[in-house]
Amino acid sequence: MPGVIGVVDHRNAPRLSPLAGTFFGPDGGLLMLQDGVVPYAGCPVALVVARTPEQAKAAADALPVTYDEQPHDTHFSAGHPAARPASTVFGEDANVGDVEAELARSAVVVDEWYRTPEEHCGAMELHSATAWWDGERLQAVDCNQGPFIVATGLATLFSLEPERVRVRAEHVGGGFGSKGLCGPQLVLAVMGATLFGRPVRVTMSRHQVFLMTPPRPATEQRVRIGAGADGSLRAIDHEAAFEVSPLASYVENCVEPTKTLYAAAAIRTRLTAVPLDILPPFSVRGPGLTPGSFALESAMDEVAERLGLDPLELRLRNEPAAGPVSGLPFSRRDLVACLREGARRFGWADRDHRPRTRREGRLLAGTGLAATAFSTGALPSSASITAEADGSFTVAVGASDIGTGARTALIAVAADALRVGTDRIRMRIADSDFGPAWAAGGSRGTASWSWAITDAAAKLRERLGDPERPVTVTADTTRVLGGLPPRERHAYSAIFAQVTADPATGEVRVRRLLGMFAVGRVVNPLLARSQAVGGMIMGLSMALHEEGVRDRASGRQVNADFAGYHIAAHADVPDVEADFVPDYEPDDPSGIKGVGEIGTVGTAAAIANAVWHATGVRQRTLPIRVDRVLEDDPR
C-alpha cells in the first residue's frame, strides 16, 4: 500500500531479553512481537511503519491477522482457584496479637467485603515515542515518568550497553503511573527504527492506551474490625485479593494503611494475587492505598455507626504511639492535626450522625470523612551542578515533570541550597544522560531529586572560592540514604465530603470536598495545592465514575475510550478545598515528604461514607453507580 515502509511482527522483530522488568521483577509484558502467542486481548501483534500516520493507519487496518482461540480466563474473584499468596516485596503479612480472640471480646464487629474495579490512569497525552539510531547510539524522545529508569530498562530489553541508550522526556502530558515503565510506544518505535534504519514515531490511539497500558488491578477485600464499647480497636483483619498477569509480578499493597494507621491489640493482613489472562496491572496513582483505604476507611465508618460514635472521634481514639505492626517510631505523625483542622473548617462538629435524615427537596444529603497515610521517603538519585562563568548555575538531574511542577519546585530547592535567586538557576531535567535518578512515582520524586540537588549544592559551595569556571560537581544519594534509621515515614490526610443523592435517579453529586494534608515541607504552595486538589478529584472520579469493564467471552475491555470510561469532567467537580498543616520530615535535608498521591487515597471512602450518611445504605462496591444507589434504595 502507498507509503508503507514495512511491517514488524513476531517473525522479524528484534529479539528481546526476558530479564527486563520493573521494581517487582522481570516483566513478560515487555516482550512484544516475540512469538505468535497473544497472552491478553489488546496485545500488539504487528507494527506498520509508513510515511504518514494516515498511510500507517490504513495499512494496519488492512493487515490480515488470523487467530486460533485458546481457553482464557479474565474473570476476577477473590475465591478464584488460581489465587495464591502475593509477593512479599513490600514486607510480610502482618500477624500481631490474636485476631480471633480479640474479635470474640469485641463489643461490635464489622465483617464486610469491599470491591474496586480495574481503573485506568487516563493521562491526557497519548503515549508517544520517537526513536532513531545515531551511529551506534539509540536515541529516543519518549513520554515517561523516569528517563533513566526507562533507558536502563530499554538497554536490558534490547541487550545494549546502558551508555548506548539515551532517553529524554522533557515534557510529559500526565502520567499517574502509566508512564512509569518502558512503554509499548517506545519498544515498538525502537523496533521500527532498528529494522528500517530511520526515525520512527509511534503514537498510540486512545483505545490502545486503554488496552495496552497497565490498569490498577481490580480488588476484593474483606475487612473485619472489632472494637470495644469505648471505641478502642481490638482487632483489624484485612484480606485483599487483586488480579495479576502470569507475565509479571506485581503487588497492589492494599493493606499498607492497615499496618500503620490505627492502634489495635491484634492486626492481621493477607495479600492474595489472582493470575488472569490480562495485561500485567501496575501502579495507578496512590497504588495499593487507594483501593485499600476505601475498604479500611469504609469499615471504620461502619464501626462508628454500630457504636453510635462520631467517626472523627473513633479515629482520634485509636492513635498509635509507634508503628502498630513494625513497632518503629514515627518520624512525624500529624494525622490528628489534619483531622481536627479539617473538621473545624468543614463544620463537622454540627453533624448529626444519624443517616438519611437530611432532605433538600427530593435530594438526600450527607457528609463523610476518611483518614489516610501514604508512605514517603527518598530513593537514590544523582544530580550535577555547574557554576558557570556568568554567575549562573546549571542544574542537571534526571527528574521528570509529568505535570507536578517538579521543574519549578526543583529550581526553588536549588536556589535555596545555593543561596542565590531563582533567576540564576538553569534547570535541566528528564535526560537519561544526567545519570541515575528516581522517577516521578511513589510520591518520592521531589524528595529524591531535591536531596541529590542539595548534596551537590553543598559540595559546590565548598569550591566556589576557587575562581575556576565553569566548575561542575556531582552528588549521588545512594550511600546517605542507605544509612537512614528505619522509621515509619508517612504523609497524612483527612478528607471531608458532602454529597447529595437523588433517590429518583440514583445520581450522587459531590457538593463539597475538603482535604487537610501533612505532606512535610511544602516547597511551592500553589503547585502542592494543585497536586492535592487534583488527587482528590481523581478520587472523586474513582468513587463515582471509573470502571474498566471486561467482556468475559473475549477478555477484552469493552469501554476502552473516554466515552465508555468516564473520568470526572468539569460538571462533576465542585470547588475543592485543600490545605496543609505545618509538617516536616526530620530525616530529609529539605524536610520534604511527598504530595503526589495522597489526595487520591482517602477520597473514595469519604464520599462513600457521605453517601451512607445521605441514604442510609452502604456502598461497598466502586464506583457508586446510579443503578447501585437506585437498587439499594430502601423505599
Binding site: E54, Q55, M124, R206, V533, M536, A569, V573, V576
Partner: protein, 180 residues
C-alpha cells in the same frame, strides 16, 4: 478504497494564509500539527471525546480531530498560538497562569480555546443545559460556576485542574475580557 487521494485546501491560521495539499483522510488537527507545525492543539483521543484539540473555526469551538482538513477549506482558524498577541498572553491565559489552571498542560490549549469560544457563545445569549430560563428574549444568562462547568465539560483534564480553570474563566468574564 482509494488510497492516498489528495486535495488542496486553503486555511487561514492565526491570520496567516496557508495553501496545502493534504491526504483527504488528514484531520484538521493533524494538518495543523504535522502539515503547518502548530503543535498547540493536542491529540488526546482522536475521536472528539476529550477536547484537547479544540480550536476556533470561524470563531466557533471545534474539536479539530473530528473535522477533516479538506472540510475546513476557506476557514479562519485560531489555535492557542493565536490567542496571545504582540508577545503578550491574552487575559484568559494570564488568568490560567496566575491561578494555576493547569498541571501537565496537555489539555490547556483546548481549555483555553474552548473558554474563549464559550464566553463568546454566552455573550451571544446561548443557553446551556443548566440555564434555568431559556426565554429567547432574555439577554445572556448569568454566568456562574455551574454555567462554566456545564459549558466547559467537553474539555477533560485528568490532572484535575478544574476548580482553577473555572475560577480563571469566571475572573476573565467578570472583567469583560470575552475576546480572550
Amino acid at each position: 478504497m482509494v488510497d492516498d487521494a489528495r486535495g488542496e485546501v486553503s486555511l487561514r491560521v492565526n491570520g496567516t494564509a496557508h495553501r496545502l495539499e493534504v491526504d483527504n483522510r488528514r484531520t484538521l488537527l493533524d494538518a495543523l500539527r504535522d502539515s503547518i507545525g502548530h503543535t498547540g492543539p493536542k491529540k488526546g483521543c482522536d475521536r472528539g471525546q476529550c477536547g484537547a484539540c479544540t480550536v476556533l473555526v470561524d470563531g466557533r469551538r471545534v474539536v479539530s480531530c473530528l473535522m477533516l482538513a479538506v472540510a475546513a477549506d476557506g476557514c479562519e482558524i485560531t489555535t492557542v498560538e493565536g490567542l496571545a498577541g504582540g508577545g503578550e498572553l491574552s487575559p484568559i491565559q494570564q488568568a490560567f497562569v496566575r491561578l494555576d489552571g493547569f498541571q501537565c498542560g496537555y489539555c490547556t490549549a483546548g481549555q483555553l480555546c474552548s473558554a474563549v469560544g464559550m464566553l463568546a457563545e454566552h455573550a451571544a445569549g446561548w443557553p446551556s443545559a443548566v440555564t434555568a430560563d431559556v426565554s429567547p428574549d432574555l439577554a445572556a444568562p448569568r454566568l456562574d460556576a455551574a454555567e462554566v462547568r456545564e459549558r466547559m465539560s467537553g474539555n477533560l483534564c485528568r490532572c484535575g485542574a478544574y476548580p482553577s480553570i473555572v475560577r480563571a474563566v469566571l475572573e476573565t468574564a467578570a472583567r469583560g475580557q470575552v475576546a480572550g
